[in-house]
């Protein structure tokens, strides 16, 4: 796995390299935005229920390995 820095920080890129980096970063951001809107909706729903019921949400149930 490469870090954010290793993936998107480019020292002296060509125009094409910079453009390709921007495309990859936009994809990276889109995946995260979609995750907030899909998986996030489910997690927040369960989380709200846990707050009301007093029965704690178990993180392993939401994020299995």
């Amino acid at each position: 796995m490469a870090s954010f820095e290793e993936q998107f920080y480019l020292e002296d890129p060509t125009r094409l390299q910079a453009l390709w980096r921007d495309v990859k970063l936009l994809w990276w951001l889109a995946v995260r935005a979609l995750m907030w809107m899909s998986k996030g909706v489910l997690v927040r729903r369960v989380y709200r229920k846990a707050q009301v019921s007093g029965e704690p949400l178990l993180l392993e149930d939401q994020f299995p390995d």
Binding site: F4, E5, E11, P13, Y47, A50
Partner: protein, 317 residues
């Protein structure tokens, strides 16, 4: 009047708790070693507390999450082309003054320069730069009065975006002088607090955050790493320990009792330490918490310089 903060009883738990962050990061250890990332990673490796981090990200309000993504977009310009002709640095001291003036012009609140020390690097990382230009930027105290709510979380991300723009612009200007420079902000493989302390911007407070003379802990930190030869600043004594030894505001107000009253030995260094295992889950539950930095007497706007003078006058001799 004492503010009321969310209950320490959390609506989430683990079936099997991760390995203690205090153990991973050497609480009680007497040997010097680098810190290990356990939360707020850069994506390079799976962190022990990754589950909590993903949970934290997904329960954040959209505005905070969105600002974080926008900040990542800005960070693509953290590095870039270097001018072919390198401007020689004849007088490192004068150049430091120029760079500091430039940083202030670009929006920084306070600036310091130091060497890139081992203490600032996580285990397994190896940025190849000689020194660090550390930048502080104050947050809006009126907004931060709403800590544990979306409003303060939004202000934190706004400040991060502002400081990101500043360090990116500064790194670009240094590269235009023909020297390597890379900007680091939130979520980076770099420990900003040890660098800020070495750069003479402040001292470590009881709550585990930097306290600087000007803003207390009501600020964000970012760094530009560079090879440009610059005169380095020295650590300062602004009497933070004099205050923290006697003051119990953050220890009392921390809902999960994560802040201790005594310094502890951590990876060979005696320092103020916050119990990670207690702090991180509450932090996740409360949009990044921030109670300890908000209640710190030093964070009150304009109070720092007077407080420093008072504390120093109380010293014997």
């Amino acid at each position: 009047m004492k503010k009321k903060f969310p209950s320490p009883k959390l609506p989430f738990a683990y079936r099997h708790k991760p390995v203690s962050g205090n153990t991973i990061n050497g609480l009680g250890e007497t040997t010097l070693r680098r810190a290990t990332q356990i939360f707020h990673g850069s994506g390079a490796r799976k962190l022990e507390w990754a589950r909590l981090e993903i949970f934290f990200a997904l329960i954040n309000p959209f505005k905070v999450y969105w600002l974080n993504l926008l900040n990542r977009w800005l960070l693509r310009n953290a590095d870039g082309p270097i001018a072919a002709v390198q401007q020689p640095v004849v007088d490192a001291r004068q150049k430091s003054q120029e760079i500091k003036a430039l940083a202030l012009e670009l929006g920084a609140g306070v600036v310091g320069i130091t060497h890139l020390s081992e203490q600032a690097l996580y285990k397994g990382t190896n940025p190849q730069y000689a020194r660090a230009i550390v930048v502080l930027l104050p947050m809006d105290n009126e907004e931060m009065a709403y800590v544990t709510t979306n409003r303060a979380g939004t202000e934190t991300m706004r400040a991060y975006m502002e400081i990101t723009r500043t360090v990116i612009a500064l790194s670009q200007r240094i590269r235009s002088m023909g020297w390597r420079a890379r900007a680091y902000c939130e979520g980076a493989d770099l420990l900003h607090i040890p660098l800020a302390i070495e750069a003479g911007l402040g001292q470590l407070g009881k709550h585990g955050s930097l306290i600087c003379k000007e803003y207390g802990s009501g600020m964000r930190i970012a760094t530009v790493l560079t090879d440009m030869p610059l005169a380095e600043d020295k650590p300062v004594d602004i009497a933070v320990d004099d205050l923290c030894v006697g003051c119990r505001r953050c220890t009392i107000d921390c809902p999960v009792d994560a802040i201790g009253d005594r310094k502890q030995t951590v990876r060979g260094v005696e320092k103020w330490y916050v119990d990670f295992d207690k702090c991180a889950p509450y932090f996740a539950h409360t949009v990044g918490c921030g109670i300890c930095i908000e209640v710190c007497p030093w964070t009150k706007p304009g109070r720092g310089p007077g407080l420093l003078e008072k504390l120093l006058s109380k010293r014997p001799g």
